[in-house]
Amino acid sequence: MTVRASRHARRLGRLLVTPSVVALLAWMIVPLAMTLWFAALDYRLLDAGPARFAGLANFAALLADPGFYAAVITTLYLLALALALSVGGGLVLALLLDVAAFGRGALRVLVISPFFVMPTVAALVWKNLMMSPVSGVLAWIAQGLGLPAFDWFAHAPLVAVAIIVAWQWLPFAALIFLTALQSLDSEQREAAQLDGAGPIAMLRYLTLPHLARPAAVIVMIETLFLLSLFAEIFVTTGGGPGNATTNLAFLIYQQALQSYDVGGASAAGLVAVVLANIVAFFMVRLIGRSLTA
């Protein structure tokens, strides 16, 4: 009786999830298959003739291109820098918010607000209002201190982009850390207090280990988004100067919509997918350890 009922329930269950499975397949598999197909074509929008099958020629060209390796390095460098800034800054912010005695609610709203600013706007604000060597706030501060204004996008374009991205992700990191801090068992803190732990020891032996897990989650989620960073680069530097801020996503954009090379762009896109998977693999292993610990 129960066996039949559960078999029936299982069939019904399969039937009910079918639409979403079909939709997911259509959304994922079809574009992926098309990208695979385009990557194997010599398909340029400016050529009059039909696209011809080119085998692995697009990949060979990509791997022979020094610009590609530069883009990979730029992608990873940007990722590391933005992660370090947002996780580090988020941690400090969360620790400060955790001890804030009054105005915590208002502070929290202020802290989260960068998250609501869309990337293009954030990048424009930073470019024109903060980092501009002529009219920017940072230049004004430098002047007030008697220092020469620093032209961020000319002399440290990658760092500038990383700062903008980190600013956008700071609230996310800070809020996750703050939530984790507030879930730290108060009796553990008291036990450490009786054991003679001062603020520094408390931070080192109790708080930071407790935050390892949320930190892992933050790194994982930010990595997913930062590997495909585009809008901030497009708005501020356009990949330059030279190709100093051209990451993989921007390289693909240049191939597809500036060189009109669909085949080359598809090949680069597939390589980016592989790269993202490699990074994700190591991230998950690294983080998996701290999650099971």
Binding site: A191, Q193, D195, H210, A212
Partner: protein, 331 residues
């Protein structure tokens, strides 16, 4: 000789006096148990002694030294928490040795002391595990080990056994008491369980609403409760309380009689048996008297009356506790 002295300690939370002008001296080397219903202030008082809360009024002396405003770590007290509060990312070894490490003790000495305490608590095989890989009883022992290793002036126990199952709780009670006597360290033990208080204490302090109701040796409280509250709180099953004309014949507003001090008699109060609890070594007979007052009497096994039987019971006259209308015991 007392080791910890409280003088007029008061703690308010808003308008509520959680601890209300407590004067208490805690004897050196003994086990003092704070007992009372939840919200009576016993845990708050323990936290005040530990330094986790600051009193609004009063003074705290430890070894004749004023420690009212001293930081918790400098008081030389070790506390065992109800949740154990083990550090989850540290091994058992690191958990036990944490205080010594913070105190700057040399590594070999820390190791030696941790090993010694672990052997005492049967934790040696688990030293390199983390708390998540331990059973409840083992975690409990780690928490105790963390307190013992510091060789503190006194132990503070905050309901340490309440998260264990009944069988383990019974064992740990005895083990904890044996350990404390072996070490000869002063201990304050907070519980809401009067049976735990009776079995463990050298001295019991009964709290209610932030005040001390009575303090004394366990059997002193059992045989001579100072008031109605203590009489009802200590002992299980609880005392039988009777008011009205039955109390008046003893010259009191209310009388209380323990179940073992009631006997079946030819002359006495008549009632009907409603429930008989067979516990093996003894039985408890629940009666309802003619006016509806409930009564419990202890009976030897094999002699208990049948359900629904009518019988007469009388108290052992010398064992009747008499209370005035203010709830205080009459001499």
């Amino acid at each position: 000789m007392s080791q910890i002295e409280l003088h007029g300690i008061t703690k308010r939370f808003g308008d509520h006096r959680a601890v209300d002008r407590i004067d208490l001296a805690i004897a050196r080397g003994g086990m003092t148990v704070f007992v009372g219903p939840s919200g009576c202030g016993k845990t708050t008082l323990l936290r005040l002694i530990a330094g986790l809360e600051d009193p609004d009024e009063g003074r705290l002396l430890i070894d004749d030294e004023d420690m009212t405003g001293t930081a918790p770590a400098q008081r030389g007290l070790a506390m065992v928490f109800q949740s154990y509060a083990l550090y989850p990312h540290m091994t058992v070894r690191a958990n036990i040795g944490f205080a010594l490490k913070l105190a700057g003790m040399a590594r070999p000495e820390i190791d030696a002391r941790v090993e010694r305490v672990a052997a005492m608590l049967h934790l040696t095989p688990y030293l390199d595990r983390r708390p998540a890989a331990l059973s409840g009883g083992q975690r409990q022992r780690v928490a105790i080990g963390r307190a013992v290793v510091r060789e503190p002036r006194a132990f503070l126990f905050d309901e340490p056994l309440s998260n264990l199952d009944a069988a383990l709780r019974g064992r740990m009670r005895v083990e904890l008491r044996r350990l404390q006597q072996e070490l000869g360290t002063t201990a304050i033990y907070v519980t809401h369980d009067q049976a735990e208080a009776m079995t463990m204490a050298d001295r019991i302090v009964v709290f209610r609403d932030g005040r001390i109701e009575q303090a004394g040796r366990p059997l002193e409280l059992y045989h001579r409760p100072a008031n109605r509250f203590v009489a009802g709180f200590i002992g299980s099953p609880a005392m039988n309380f009777l008011a009205g004309p039955r109390a008046a014949t003893f010259g009191a507003a209310e009388i209380a009689i323990r179940p073992e001090d009631l006997t079946v008699a030819a002359e006495g109060w008549s009632g009907t048996v409603t429930v008989v609890e067979h516990l093996g070594a003894e039985s408890y007979v629940h009666l309802v008297l003619e006016d509806g007052a409930p009564l419990v009497l202890r009976s030897r096994p094999g002699e208990e009356p049948a359900n629904g039987a009518k019988l007469r019971v009388a108290p052992v006259a010398a064992k009747v506790h008499r209370f005035g209308s203010d709830g205080l015991a009459l001499g």
